[in-house]
Assembly symmetry: C2
Homo-oligomer: 354 residues x 2
């Protein structure tokens, strides 16, 4: 593997000194970019794009080519590849969210689910990781990722997106032991999946707990955080002589940062509802923090974006341990120009804090 | 006005001693009740029901007749009556959320909006309040309510429900002074509306900030909490010799309880993501707390419901200042039997804490 030319992202995760705050953007390879839309068009559909390592590599690199300030690449894939590999049949209908052709309803359904076997399943993902890592040629580090067990479970039980997770919560509250069997299979699968990504070249991993914020305080700790903690425990700690940092991102998890900081993760992702100054005060020097600009700021103009970047940098304050990002994925409504202004603002304004 | 026979709810709001924890349920007059569905059917449509004081009174009283444990009635109405009175044309399409036939997009649109004039507008609401108060005949206190300015603004700009409030946030972030003009009109309207409800007989009021949780930390304080604080300041403090408590409920507001407690409100509503023990620790003796069972617990069974009620009572601990409620409105999927088990559990188990 070629030497890393820009290790700002990895250094900030380990809270080592950096020259400026590193930056990347969740969903940076996405529909706001015309070059992404062109590749997506060629692929035919979204899963065709995820399932083709060459195309997945191509779109992963697109934002890096356009915005030289980006300090990390993230594997282009979907969070629902694991349930798909378990046989649920993931598909996307135009204009709608993800759907599964089979849903999980009963204990029997859960017992019948296989744990993913990385020697057979999801090789299109690990192939993409290897290829991207090779094509990056040391420009920036590559992040691998997975959905969290709780988040994956909601899609598997609801059959797609959901407003209130009624069926998932019914099973979870009514038959917690049955629900734990599903979560345990997902813990084993996510662990194997992330370890395979690390072996294929991912230099950091992020766990996306997109719907953890829908849980009660105690249910979050039992059904989302504890399983993620088991995954963190089971991950390869070092590869090629480098530590592998783990970022935990529970959207809507701002009330649980203290316990998240004790999970063994290297860094916590923050959504935009959290005051990053207060978050830093809460977590102390246990973890780094990633985030947390409201993606809707990207609907405004370069001057307003610059002001918001400045406010967040000031709120985090001096020193390393901050990876600048949005508080959630960039949306298709953002313009490439405004995204550029965002990256430039972080590059320019963050120098003063280091 | 007849003497109040059950003042447990009002006493708990003022943190005065009570014999047990009072309880009511957001959306307690709602689709989970067959008697509600029958009246709704007769009314033809939802706005027909809200707009008819006799029917609004009838459905307000239905849960009280079924469940003798309920300690407060809440006016049956919609949170969007104010934008409707401003001329936006509220309607409901079957199976979908509320919609407006006109939306607010520009400064000109905002300038053209009238502040509601309670001598002319929304008399169907104040008529319903007077009638319900008379029909209650002192059984339990009556709660009036309104949506918060921020929450109303999102519907007025998006034209209905929204996933990410893109247009609202664009206006708010891009032209904050223009957005403040809209918020100011809503502050004046909500204040007049709640005061009219108080004059008509509401003995407490609740402000529903359903979408405040979608805001960033600083935007919440500027565009949602500060306007609600202005409303609290402008409300009638006493009526008929009784103080009028104000409950502030920001769904997703668990990170902002400390500043909410300084708003002048009597009590804060908590959604189920917040640990009520920690919330009590945070707010001290500044405010009472209302909440906060996950409505999804009502999909389980009486035993499980009883356990959850017990856990929340224990978390709040001894003494007054807790009004038991769900963390959000009850959904149509809950069964009347399970709702009954919820009310009974609070009645029986809370005695030990007083």
């Amino acid at each position: 593997m070629s030497e890393l030319k820009n290790d700002r992202f990895l250094r900030a995760l380990m809270r080592q000194p950096v020259d400026r705050t590193p930056v990347w953007m969740m969903r940076q390879a996405g529909r706001y970019l015309p070059e992404y839309r062109a590749t997506r068009e060629r692929a035919g559909n979204f899963m065709g794009l995820c399932g083709n390592p060459d195309m997945a590599c191509e779109v992963t690199l697109q934002p890096l080519d356009r915005y030289p300030q980006i300090d990390a690449a993230i594997l282009f894939s979907d969070i629902l590849t694991i349930p798909d590999a378990m046989g649920l049949g993931l598909y996307f209908e135009t204009g709608e969210g993800p759907k599964f052709s089979k849903v999980v309803s009963t204990e029997k359904d859960i017992d019948a689910l296989p744990v993913v076997d990385m020697d057979k399943d999801l090789t299109y993902v690990t192939d993409a990781v290897s290829l991207i890592r090779r094509e990056l040629n040391g420009r920036v580090p590559l992040i691998g990722f997975s959905g969290s067990p709780w988040t994956l479970a909601t899609y598997m039980i609801e059959g797609g997106s959901s407003k209130d997770y009624a069926r998932t919560k019914e099973l979870m509250y009514q038959q917690p032991q049955v629900f734990h069997k599903l979560i345990d299979k997902l813990v084993a699968s996510v662990t194997a999946y992330l370890n395979a990504q690390i072996m294929a070249g991912a230099q950091a991993v992020q766990i996306f707990d997109s719907w953890g914020g829908a849980l009660s305080h105690s249910a979050y700790h039992e059904f989302s955080l504890a399983p993620m903690q088991k995954i963190v425990d089971g991950l390869i700690k070092e590869h090629d002589g480098h530590p592998i940092p783990v970022i935990l991102f529970t959207k809507g998890g701002g009330q649980w940062l203290t316990s998240m900081a004790d999970s063994g993760a290297t860094a916590l992702g923050l959504d935009w509802t959290t005051d990053i100054a207060y978050a830093r005060h809460l977590v102390g020097d246990k973890v780094a923090l990633q985030g947390n600009m409201d993606p809707a700021i990207l609907y405004t103009n370069p001057q307003r974006i610059r002001e918001e970047v400045s406010t967040i940098l000031q709120a985090y304050g001096n020193g390393s341990g901050h990876i600048f990002n949005l508080g959630h994925g960039v949306t298709p409504h953002a313009t490439p120009e405004n995204v550029g202004a965002f990256f430039e603002a972080v590059e320019e304004l963050s120098v003063d804090y280091h």
